[in-house]
Symmetry: C2
Subunit: 260 residues, 2 copies
Amino acid sequence: MKHGHLSTKELADFIRERATIEEAYSRSMTKLAKSASNYTQLGTFAPVWDVFKTSTEKLASCHLDLVRRLQELIKEVHKYGDEQIKAYKKTKEEVSGTLEAVQNIQSITQALQKSKENYNAKCLEQERLKKEGATPREIDKATVKSKKATDTYKLYVEKYAAVKSDFEQKMTETAQKFQDIEETHLLHMKEIIESFSNTIKDIHLQIGEVHEEFINNMTNTTVESLIQKFAESKGTGKERPDTSINMNPRGSTISGCFIV
Amino acid sequence: MKHGHLSTKELADFIRERATIEEAYSRSMTKLAKSASNYTQLGTFAPVWDVFKTSTEKLASCHLDLVRRLQELIKEVHKYGDEQIKAYKKTKEEVSGTLEAVQNIQSITQALQKSKENYNAKCLEQERLKKEGATPREIDKATVKSKKATDTYKLYVEKYAAVKSDFEQKMTETAQKFQDIEETHLLHMKEIIESFSNTIKDIHLQIGEVHEEFINNMTNTTVESLIQKFAESKGTGKERPDTSINMNPRGSTISGCFIV
């Protein structure tokens, strides 16, 4: 059970480390977007930097969104971890009877072993006396001892059967309880991981859209449109400037001076 | 033209900065994969860390692949930048005749203006003498001067027309050449950017596959399989252990001692 709580803690650590990585990446992307906007605003290529800047800012934003969603998930994992501790404490109390049953079967097993050895010894003693032709009095005495040892052994065998049954029942219940706890724990962990991978998947789709948009924007940024924009920004017109010379001298009305 | 080369340099800078970001991200992912493999190997959740580790390592690898491909692209951009410098030098030599034409039209325009002013002055002088009733000798002298000024002016008008034609032709050619250079430059830049976005797109698809694989692996890592693995690792069997007691005392064959 304690490993269960440790793995919850470790899963939170893992997600936190991932969030930290995504945050650093997002910050770097924001910096890169700034670089793009600091590049030269002169020349025909200048408007392309806006396309790069917008796309890079959006990438930064996607990864920051991921950070926020991972932080929400970490909170959920912590909440689950707290519930887990409480549930484990409760279970520990519930299974205290099983510990008692374990101690009972340990002591009854020792007593049973001891009575078995005593029974064996008494039986062998009785047999030895018969073989060696001992007095009937001696044999009767050994028979009484053997009978007593047999009764004691019998008693412990019965006691052992009862304790064993209790032990088995409690152990089965506890094992089932522990298995249920593990199953619930693993199901919960799998839910958290599903939430984690859904988040990653969502953001991955968003990033894909940013890429598509960038590709479309670049397709729309044609060479012609860039040259057009540049010409407009420089104020160079589309018509050839008028460079004809007026051959009439200003203010002169003398016919003799006209050059035709 | 110089802005063209600057934008090539800046595009290389932009891609390099992006590659640096991806490299840092890849390194962090490798570190995260190591964290996953350092988490507890005890408990039922342990095998899940392998799934995380594998997936995180693959993510790191995708981003490192991106770094490599961006570095290749930077080399291409630099190569293009070098070619650009050579091409620009060649063009500068080619358009040197245009600079001469510009200087010619500037000096002929000045000379034309001067001759026009002289012509105006001489015509007005001739008119003034006529009005004031000057001597025929004086008027003849002024007429000769006026005639000479008219001829000079006429000459410069013709010269101007010739120089203007040359200037216009050379300027048109040069403007076309510059426009061609800009168009070729922008086309080349767009090709580089296309290569850049194709690379990003490829890696994005690869990352998507890593996510899908992670989701599939998590689906296959069922709660049952985790509990099964844990039970196997702990050596706990599936059968209940045999705890029956043999009531026959070892070695004893005495009928009286048998407990049925």
